[in-house]
């Protein structure tokens, strides 16, 4: 690799599938990488597969994956010259970006100024307005005092949305339709925001009733070149968290796509952005769109853009961080076909999406043409209670939306994870819904079409399940639960809690 600034070894300040994703990119570029892990992740997949790894602290994120000091120490100790933050944790922390640079480490992401500017949704809104990027009508700012929230909400008119100023990923977010719910919503959002992002500031904006969530991948270099890599439609959300993403969006006409692409690049330039980022928009039913926020990180759903453009976004992040110019121009980016991503969560969709922790006693992830699995787990591993319950991402490609969706349904049918609850059957139900097939999706899709969803099992399968139960009962314990391995293996959740309490 001919990188401008020498990057030889990258510390990956994250866990799970994204840590593995970044290590893969490093390996493909012939670069070294180092994993970090908390005590709860001693036997996590990202540690087992790492070339080198460093224990950085107890399970609590604040004492491990969110500890800037420990991560910088780990990078120094292992001779790394760069740090990739992944998504979540410290990925959008301006202080972390700054401290890395001060410590002589290349931060693979935007500089602290851009993160600060865009991380604060109030300031970024002003910047975008100044750059002629459309921002949401009726949006109002409140100071954090409940009375100001009340008067702002009344001025805009309910429903309103409470959002964490330094948020993302649906955390610290509440829709309020009834003024009586406002207090709880503001407090709950603040607490979640504090816990997830270390900043309790929340604000309020007009809530569109049937918007689509459309985001544009952007990529910019230190020389000031900025391009977009087209859109991702992320309207299928539960609890304000995306679970199915696709590209292209079935809603965009070539004209709207062109306008939004121009707006996305304008947003990147207005913020003097460098590295990979995402400009999020809400698309209203009438085709008008509004700037929502810029995510200053690689996104969970970045693989669908990689599938249709053939561009490896993480490798490009690394090249840009080394000072290289973008390796492509806007006209080189010609998306081809359709890609879909489903996020596999350890949760129970039939029970309020209650997260599910514990041991995955059996895991068999599918393998096929036009299928990519970005996984952070393995058969026999523990899903700890301390972190986001994402297990894996299933990504399919097809020549069109129909083929991509069909391939996704087959992949999900072949996705087998036992021992914990997952949302696989829920995802299958969504993809099979006629309104999904028709492309009639919006952020409230699941609330409207899948309230109180429960999994209905055909009784015909119960007979064969009983045969399976008989055969399994005759068989010895699974390899992962028997013999020396399990005794050597991950401690139970109770042991982990105990060590956390000590």
């Amino acid at each position: 690799m001919s990188l401008a600034k020498a990057i030889k070894k990258i510390l990956v300040a994250n866990r799970g599938e994204i840590a593995l994703r970044v290590m893969r990119a490093a390996r493909e570029m012939g670069l070294g990488s180092v994993a970090v892990y908390s005590e709860a992740d001693r036997f996590a997949r990202h540690v087992i597969e790492a070339e080198e790894s460093v224990l950085i602290g107890p399970p609590s994120p604040l004492e491990s994956y969110l500890s800037i000091e420990k991560i910088i120490d780990a990078a120094k100790q292992t001779g790394c010259d760069a740090i990739h933050p992944g998504y979540g944790f410290l990925a959008e922390n301006a202080e972390f970006s700054r401290v890395c640079t001060e410590a002589g480490l290349i931060f693979i992401g935007p500089g602290p100024e851009a993160i600060s500017l865009l991380g604060n949704k109030l300031i970024s809104r002003e910047t975008m307005e100044a750059a002629d990027v459309p921002v949401i009508t009726g949006k109002k700012i409140a100071s954090g005092k409940l009375d100001d929230f009340r008067s702002a909400a009344e001025e805009i008119g309910y429903p309103v949305l409470i959002k964490a100023a330094s948020g993302g990923g649906g955390k610290g977010m509440r829709v309020v339709t009834d003024p009586a719910e406002l207090k709880d919503a503001v407090e709950g959002a603040s607490r979640e925001a504090k816990s997830a992002f270390g900043d309790e500031t929340v604000y309020l904006e007009k809530y569109l009733t049937r918007p689509r969530h459309i985001e544009f991948q952007i990529m910019a270099d230190e020389a000031g070149n900025a391009v977009h890599l087209f859109e991702r439609e992320c309207s299928i959300q539960r609890r304000h968290q995306k679970i199915i993403e696709e590209t292209p969006s079935p809603a965009l006409t070539p004209e709207i796509r062109e306008q939004m692409g121009v707006a996305a690049v304008a947003a990147a330039k207005a913020a003097k952005y460098v590295s990979a980022g995402t400009v999020e928009f809400l698309l209203d039913e009438d085709g008008s769109f509004y700037f929502l926020e810029v995510n200053t990180r690689i996104q969970v759903e970045h693989p669908i853009t990689e599938m249709t453009t053939g561009i490896d976004l993480v490798k490009e992040q690394i090249r840009i961080a080394s000072g290289d110019p973008l390796s492509f121009a806007q006209e080189d980016i010609r998306p081809f076909g359709h890609a879909t991503e489903c996020r596999i969560y350890a949760e129970d969709p039939a029970n309020g999406f209650l997260p599910s922790s514990g041991k995955i006693v059996y895991l068999d992830e599918p393998s096929a043409a036009n299928l990519r699995i970005d996984s952070g787990v393995y058969s026999g591993c523990e899903v700890p209670v301390f972190y986001d319950p994402i297990l894996s991402k299933v990504i399919t490609w097809g020549k069109d939306r129909r083929e991509s969706t069909r391939r996704m349904l087959l992949a999900l049918a072949d996705y087998k994870a036992l021992g914990i609850k997952t949302n696989v059957r829920y995802l299958q139900a969504i993809l099979q819904h006629p309104e999904y097939a028709a492309g009639n999706i919006y952020t409230g899709f699941l609330d409207e079409h899948f309230p109180g969803w429960t999994d209905e099992r055909p009784t015909a399968e119960f007979d064969v399940a009983k045969v399976g139960a008989v055969l399994a009962s005759l068989h010895q314990e699974t390899a992962t639960s028997s013999g020396d391995e399990s005794r050597r293996g991950p401690a139970s959740i109770w042991n982990q809690l105990a060590s956390w309490e000590m």
Binding site: S195, A196, L354, Y362, D364, V464, G468, S473, H475
Partner: protein, 169 residues
């Protein structure tokens, strides 16, 4: 041979004769023969009348997990010592007046006080786990008898966080 399982809190008996590559299941007067094959002891190909179904079946401790194309099923082996008491896993005793956390986590908010009357579905305590807030709500109108937790405390699914006394309507 009879195989005993617990499925959805109900006892279940499967009468089956297991051969080398086949299994015959008898249910009253009806009888089905299946062929089966497993390469690794977990993934089974089970066929009847030439149609094959791929089934994952694994035993982990006292639980048997079975995944079929139609969905996943969970069986438990019946308790060997005392056949009468099998409580729902992770769900406490089933007594609705004693509230436990749905999963291990941290108490982030206690919303009620001892002695207070609460309405149905009123939020009592919020437990954060895996980065999401999960509220514990009252199952019916009730009086709060006891609160066994405080904000910031780590709790598992075995600690009774709140005890209620149901109120007559």
């Amino acid at each position: 041979m009879d195989f005993e399982f617990v499925h959805n809190d109900e006892r279940l008996t499967v009468r089956a004769e297991v051969g080398k590559n086949s299994i015959r299941v008898v249910d009253g007067d009806s009888e089905i023969s299946y062929d089966f094959f497993s390469a690794d002891g977990s993934l089974f190909t089970i066929s009847a009348n030439g149609k094959a179904t791929r089934v994952v079946a694994v035993k982990d401790g006292e639980t048997i997990y079975v995944s079929t194309p139609g969905g996943d099923f969970q069986f438990r082996l019946p308790p060997s010592v005392d056949g009468d008491t099998f409580s729902e896993a992770g769900g406490g005793s089933g007594d609705k007046s004693k509230l436990v956390a749905p999963m291990p986590g941290k108490v982030v908010k206690v919303l009620v006080e001892e002695g207070q009357a609460v309405t149905e579905k009123e939020k009592l305590v919020i437990v954060e786990a895996m980065k999401m807030e999960n509220p514990l709500v009252a199952p019916y109108p009730a009086q709060v008898v006891k609160i066994n937790c405080e904000e910031g405390q780590l709790v598992d699914t075995e600690i009774i966080l709140v005890e209620l006394k149901e109120l007559e309507n």
